[in-house]
């Protein structure tokens, strides 16, 4: 444990770079998944292939992806761009199906009502379907955020600074506290970001607040003991 006290600056630096590496792919996969998920929900015959393709992205082993991706996108292996693009791909693997589900789960009666009120197509998508799908989108985004933060650590193998460096270095030098600190901080960072997303959700999706739902007609069914 002494090691941790002696290396707080190192750990802190890794924590910051970790966060900076994690945020762009989380945002990017959310934004990119919107059109793809929309397409998967809208165009019937595209649905299965798009969702399968998204699922398979997740099956690409990360190490080779990090090494080969630069050949495709023309960056250096250790470039943040490389890591961000790779993590965005993994994020899409999770976010595309989540988005498709979320958009499909919008009550068709709400969409119908919007049509009947005279919403145009784009406006309806942006101001009705998207916000109404918000809670489900948020659930998907939370999964993406947590797993992206966990995946950032893999970059350490290539020399991209992140909490993962506490694993590689701690491993070589047999410093258990280093590895443990890395694991604990990664999980903590993920949970903090997750909590922030939940808070953000309450802010931008005020109608889903539990206090709001409390006045709804109560359910009839009580689960008997």
């Amino acid at each position: 444990m002494r090691w941790i006290g002696d290396n707080l600056d190192v750990i802190g630096g890794h924590l910051v770079s970790h966060l900076l590496l994690a945020v762009p792919p989380i945002v990017a996969s959310f934004l990119l998944a919107l059109p793809v998920g929309w397409l998967a929900g809208r165009v019937r015959w595209l649905r299965a292939p798009l969702l399968s393709a998204a699922g398979l992205l997740y099956a690409i082993p990360s190490l080779p992806l990090f090494v080969v991706l630069p050949l495709v996108i023309g960056t250096g292996v250790r470039d943040a761009t490389n890591i961000i693009v790779a993590l965005t791909l993994y994020g899409l693997a999770l976010m595309v199906p989540a988005t498709a589900d979320a958009l499909r789960s919008v009550d068709p009666r709400v969409v119908d009502a919007a049509d009947a009120l005279g919403y145009g197509g784009v406006r309806r998508f942006l101001t009705v379907e998207l916000p109404v799908a918000g809670p489900t989108l948020l659930a998907g985004l939370r999964v993406v955020a947590v797993s992206t933060i966990s995946l950032v650590t893999v970059g350490a193998v290539l020399g991209v600074p992140s909490l993962g460096m506490l694993f590689t270095d701690g491993f070589q030098r047999n410093i258990m506290p280093s590895i443990l600190a890395g694991i604990v901080l990664t999980i903590a960072l993920a949970l903090v970001v997750d909590a922030l997303l939940v808070a953000l959700g309450r802010l931008v999706l005020p109608w889903t607040r539990p206090a709001a739902a409390a006045v709804v007609a109560p359910t009839q069914a009580e689960v008997a003991p």
Binding site: A116, L117, G118, V128, A213, A217
Partner: protein, 273 residues
């Protein structure tokens, strides 16, 4: 005046929901489309604001063929109240009511002021303005739906079983409210229901539909009750089952019972007021 001429609707899966329907919905009156489930009531109603496109035939509003009009302005010019209120769950009550004026570019303050007046009109407390739909009871949601339908001050109001999902006490309230509002505003209302009582309560004119949007009879409730056009109509409104043939109960007390012996009401000796 809304006028259907030989309108047919066939859905892509081949279902002919409405077959050669013709009919007029006179201005400033409530026309009720009455019929059992699946007979095509909703389809007819939704053809008026082109939520459903007619397969053939013409529909005119004040003589103008609606097929020539842009759908978005057409829809904004017609009020539409749906069974489950169809409110936007992510908008506050006040914004839900003001939806169409806001879409039309009315300044927010003005739209909201108008929405508050409408809340008064439909009997909603203004304190509910900032709630979300899921914070309201079913009956309150329905009132919001009616207010929204009236927000752009449309000449035409389409109502598709608007009170179908609320409990009977509340339903009776809402019907009374609608009658009051209609007596004030005099809109052209097309009202869909499968509830005979409701149709008789609200309709200036009633169109009883059989399957495929076939008109079985049209007229006022009294015309229909006194002279049902055929067995189908008599059965539908309950005459055939003896439910509308009332007898004095042998127990006395002026209680009237129907053909099943079920108590229905009390006979007042003086004629109708």
């Amino acid at each position: 005046m809304i006028e259907f001429t030989c309108v047919t609707k066939q859905y892509p899966d081949g279902t002919v929901a409405v077959d050669d329907f013709s009919g007029q919905f006179p201005p400033h009156q409530t026309t009720v489309l009455l019929g059992s489930s699946g007979c095509g009531k909703t389809t007819i109603l939704r053809m008026v604001n082109r939520m459903v496109e007619a397969s053939s035939g013409t529909i005119t509003i004040d003589g103008e063929n609606i097929a020539q009009r842009d759908v978005v302005p057409l829809r904004r010019s017609i009020g539409y109240v749906m069974q489950n209120a169809g409110l936007l769950p992510h908008r506050r009550v006040i914004d839900n009511i003001a939806t169409v004026p806001l879409l039309n570019g009315t300044p927010k303050a003005e739209a909201h002021a108008r929405a508050e007046e409408l809340m008064d009109l439909v009997g909603l407390d203004r304190s509910m303005a900032r709630r979300y739909p899921n914070q309201l009871s079913g009956g309150q949601q329905q009132r919001v739906g009616v207010a929204r339908g009236l927000a752009a001050d449309p000449n035409i109001l389409l109502m598709d079983e608007p009170f179908g999902a609320v409990d009977p006490l509340v339903r009776r309230d809402l019907q009374a409210e609608l009658r009051r509002i209609q007596s004030e505003l005099g809109k052209t209302i097309v009202f869909v229901t499968h509830d005979v009582e409701e149709a008789f309560t609200l309709g200036d004119q009633i169109i009883i539909l059989a399957n495929g949007g076939q008109v079985a009879q049209r007229g006022t409730s009294e015309e229909i009750l006194a002279h049902p056009a055929n067995d189908f109509v008599a059965g539908f409104i309950g005459l055939a089952q003896g439910e509308r043939t009332l007898h004095r109960s042998p127990d006395g007390g002026g209680v009237l019972v129907d053909g099943h012996g079920r108590a229905v009401g009390v006979l007042a000796e003086e004629p109708a007021p």
